[in-house]
């Protein structure tokens, strides 16, 4: 099978175990994002795939060829893998064009330079060919790094936090550009990031890493956002309102209302996570518990509103403050009584106990429409 296949890899730096029996399949032709917090071993996975770290345990296969197991170590220069670093690692003593031709070993010089110029053209950097890296802005350096990594036409491109060094405006812009370039080149790409939004934006497929390189969930961005299989995964994508409850009569009750649950037995303690857009505010003040608005924060099209459930709602003290995503037209001053409800599509339920050995695997909660009555 074409692509990168990591099988049962464990890795430790001294006493510090960063990967434990991690496995991963990345098919050719896709842009896969490895999403994980720091310490999830995602960078180590990249370095192992590239051959910069020596494999301790497990197996790494690229295009059906074993490149690393405890006996075999194909050095990075023979793996045909492109790598782009967080800090771009441009060679400061070489001009931009020399940086790009650096990977074109064995190619005649004029040909290499033509190829390099072509790559620079793709990232709109031709006019900087004779400059040196320190004269470029961060975004420009990023583009050059991309051109340099793509120039030798690698089988696989690995990107380590490619946008983390850029400021926000620049990041959005460069992200789009990078995506365009990558799609145009058609190279299989693995990108490591800790930014869920970035992963959502870039990826054909997202793989979420938990501790020690364990894959918590893998899927298309839409699946991951709407069907998280794990509390951790759900919490990755933005703010969450969290409640604890118990399943009673196939339902779970939280201060915002009742949600029907499938597949979890009676009496099991659960964690209920509700996205801010899953909290529905009603300025008519008809159903549900009454809330007070603490503050509103404009985020472009939407507002993030911090609200507090009234004392009558019967909510626990640490579950009273909620985040709500509301349309920008929402104006709490115009209303004297606002109530809140829950949209089950944005509510995710996970068991808190570890009965049945299923804990951590993630339960699929199927929220029923109009579960809150």
């Amino acid at each position: 099978m074409k692509g990168l296949h990591i099988v049962g890899v464990s890795h430790a730096y001294g006493e510090n175990k960063v990967l434990d029996n991690a496995s991963l399949m990345i098919p050719a032709g896709e842009l896969v994002c490895l999403l994980g917090s720091s310490g999830s071993g995602k960078t180590t996975l990249l370095r192992l795939a590239a051959g910069l770290e020596r494999l301790q345990l497990g197996k790494i296969v690229i295009d059906d060829k074993i490149v690393a197991d405890p006996e075999v170590h194909v050095p990075p220069d023979h793996r045909g893998i492109g790598l782009m670093f967080q800090d771009y690692a441009l060679f400061p003593h070489l001009s931009i064009i020399d940086n790009v031709t650096f990977g074109l070993r064995g190619m005649a010089k004029p040909k290499a330079e033509r190829r390099a110029m072509e790559m620079l053209g793709r990232v709109s950097m031709t006019k900087y060919a004779q400059s040196h890296p320190h004269m470029l802005s961060g975004g420009q350096q990023q583009r050059v790094a991309m051109a340099r990594a793509l120039a030798p036409e690698p089988k696989l491109l690995l990107l380590d936090e490619p946008f983390s060094g850029l400021d926000t405006n620049m990041r959005l812009h460069i992200r789009e550009e990078t995506l365009t370039v990558l799609k145009a080149s058609g190279v299989a790409t693995v990108m490591v990031t800790h930014d869920p939004e970035e992963a959502m934006f870039m990826a054909d497929r997202i793989k979420i890493l938990g501790e020690s390189g364990r894959i918590l969930q893998s899927g298309r961005p839409h699946d991951i956002y709407y069907h998280p299989q794990h509390g951790f995964v759900a919490k990755l994508f933005g703010l969450m309102n969290r409640f604890e409850s118990v399943i009673v009569g196939g339902c779970v009750e939280i201060p915002l209302g009742k949600i029907r649950v499938k597949g979890l037995g009676e009496g099991r303690p659960v964690e209920v996570l509700v996205r801010p857009e899953g909290v529905i505010l009603d300025s008519e003040g008809k159903d549900g518990p009454v809330i007070d608005v603490i503050s509103t924060h404009l985020l472009g099209h939407d507002n993030i509103v911090r609200v507090r459930l009234s004392d009558e709602s019967g909510a626990k003290e640490d579950e009273k403050e909620l985040y709500v995503r509301a349309h920008h037209a929402f104006e709490p001053e115009l209303s004297n009584r606002i109530t809140a409800g829950v949209d089950p599509e944005y509510a995710f339920i996970f068991p808190l106990d570890d009965l049945g050995g299923m804990a951590g695997a993630g339960y699929t909660a199927w929220p029923q429409p109009h579960a809150a009555e």
Binding site: I81, D87, A89, P92, R105, H134, M135
Partner: protein, 560 residues
């Protein structure tokens, strides 16, 4: 299952790590030989020493180290800070002139100052004439042949090490950090103490520790001034008590002390590892100095140059004129040729080996590789003659081993292949000065982010190609600095050359020594000047290279 459990314990083996360990083992051999000599049975010296002079040796040595350490620290760091961040007339001159005393051998400057400052010298004679004193008892004048005198002499010629390294560090500091500090409301002085100094600390520490090691194993100056240091004690036990094992034991103790110091410093610094946070550099801002500050800066930079170089060089020059006939021996040119050839060869080898070892450690940061590399740079802390005995022992054993083998198996006698050859001298120099090149190269490599290696490797370049195309160009400045340091030190090196050299072979240093040991430096003044002269050349190149090597300075010129 622990991943390490299945790790092959021999996985560190490859060309680089094996090479590093082998080279290190080769260089370590003489040090091991010295320690081994210390183990051979001999008269017990410790009770006698402990009850008589050992406390004195130790306290004198510590005082000397503290004196030279503080002296070089203040002069070296102070002048480095002035020339790299302030603007005042003559700054460009001082930038390189401050390095000049480095070319001056300590024993030569000690001799010159004794001539000037002793009771019979011109200074005291003038004072006596002016005030009508006739005997020594009528006035007080600092005694040059004293602990303070020795500390002053060593400070004058050794401060350039600290200057050189701290200046390079100051220049490498990203201006952003300094500006950040200024913006946060800290004045130039506070910025210096709270930001620049801590950032430059690793470099300063390397500089001062080089100085302290030079101080510890100095023999010429302390012997001439009869300052009872530990090293003098080693020689006393060795030569007067004819107890080489005892001397080796003392040398071992000295080595232990140095290792302890180094480890203490490393421990104190263990949390402070920083790569530079930004790759953006621009010329350091430069505080324009005015009025008093300007005068003080000029004087502060001028004094070390005048006393460390101009004055002694002038005195040597005047001797050379007076003794021209005796001094202008045509042989001096041949000696100069020997000196330059040996020093250049050693400088090249030391840097090549230093780069190989430092890169070996970088590629495979395994304990054994790291340990051997560190051990190999201990030669700098052993007094030259003692180390030479170690070299003699190890090369002699090797030569006689080969000879024995060849005789037994082929009935050929190879005799001594290395002992008493220029190769032996070069080897001795390498053992002694590898610390200089390895230290600078390693420190410089450490500043290159490992991602550079990763980038080059993933772009299809092997370790060697990566080294030559990425690392070596990037550390060029430091490698050059290292080469020059080794070169200058080899030019001045005396005790090992004397002991290891072949027949009828002189360097400038041995030639000068021959006369200086009889207090007839005048006749060798031209040779002494030649040591200084050949030493200056690389010092100038070095200074130029440092200014150019600063990122952000050269690249624009190249691209325009």
């Amino acid at each position: 299952m622990a991943p390490t459990a299945k790790m092959n314990s021999w996985s560190w083996i490859n060309v680089w790590s094996i090479g590093t360990v082998l080279i290190a083992a080769w260089v370590v051999l003489p040090i091991v030989a010295v320690l081994y000599i210390g183990l051979t049975p001999s008269d017990e010296i410790w009770t006698h020493l402990a009850s008589t002079v050992l406390p004195l040796y130790i306290s004198t040595t510590l005082q000397l180290m503290i004196g030279v350490g503080i002296g070089t620290l203040i002069i070296g760091v102070g002048t480095a800070w002035l020339v790299s961040t302030c603007r005042f007339p003559g700054r460009r001159l001082f930038e390189w002139a401050l390095l000049l005393p480095m070319a001056m051998p300590a024993y030569v400057i000690a001799y010159v100052y004794t001539d000037i400052l002793e009771y019979a010298g011109p200074v005291q004679s003038l004072l006596r004439d002016m005030f009508g004193w006739t005997t020594k008892r009528e006035y007080w004048f600092p005694e040059i042949r004293s602990l303070g005198g020795a500390a002053s002499m060593l400070t004058l010629v050794l401060y350039p090490y600290v200057y050189l390294l701290s200046r390079a560090a100051f220049m490498e500091q990203s201006v952003c950090v300094l500006e950040a500090s200024r913006v946060l409301g800290r004045g130039p002085w506070r910025s210096f103490f709270s930001v620049a100094l801590p950032l430059a600390r690793p470099a300063i520490v390397i500089g001062v520790s080089l100085v302290l090691m030079e101080t510890l194993n100095d023999f010429g100056t302390v012997d001439f001034f009869a300052v009872s240091t530990f090293t003098l004690g080693i020689y006393d036990v060795w030569l007067n008590m004819n107890n080489v094992a005892g001397a080796a034991q003392l040398a071992g103790l000295l080595l232990f002390f140095v290792v302890f110091l180094v480890l203490t410093e490393r421990f104190a610094r263990r949390k402070q590892r920083f790569h530079h946070t930004t790759s953006k550099y621009k010329a350091l801002p430069g505080y324009e100095l005015e009025g008093r500050a300007r005068q003080l800066a000029i004087i502060g930079c001028a004094l070390p140059v005048v006393f460390g170089f101009v004055l002694p060089a002038a005195v040597l020059g005047s001797y050379a004129v007076i003794y021209f006939e005796a001094a202008a021996n045509p042989e001096v040119y041949r000696h100069a040729g020997n000196s330059v050839m040996l020093s250049a060869l050693t400088a090249f080898l030391a840097v090549a080996i230093g780069i190989f070892m430092a890169y070996g450690v970088r590629l495979r940061n395994e304990r054994i590789v790291r340990f051997m590399a560190r051990f190999a740079s201990l030669g700098y802390a052993v007094p030259g003659s003692v180390l030479a005995v170690g070299v003699l022992g190890s090369l002699g054993a090797l030569d006689n081993g080969i000879d024995g083998f060849m005789r037994r198996n082929f009935e050929i006698s190879t005799g001594l292949l290395f002992s008493g050859s220029i190769a032996a001298v070069t080897f001795g120099y390498l053992v002694r000065f590898l610390a200089l090149s390895f230290g600078s190269v390693e420190a410089s490599l450490a500043k290159i982010t490992p991602n550079m290696d990763g980038a080059a490797r993933s772009l299809g370049h092997g370790p060697f190609s990566t080294l030559t195309r990425i690392h070596i160009p990037l550390i060029r400045g430091s490698a050059l600095t290292a080469a020059m340091l080794v070169f200058v030190d080899c030019m001045k090196e005396l005790p090992m050359t004397v002991i290891l050299r072949p027949f009828n072979f002189h360097t400038l240093a041995t030639y000068v020594h021959e006369f200086a040991s009889d207090e007839q430096l005048g006749e060798a003044s031209l040779a002494a000047l030649a040591i200084v002269g050949f030493g200056i050349l690389p010092v100038l190149v070095l200074s130029f290279a440092i200014t150019r090597s600063r990122p952000g300075h050269t690249k624009k010129d190249q691209s325009s």
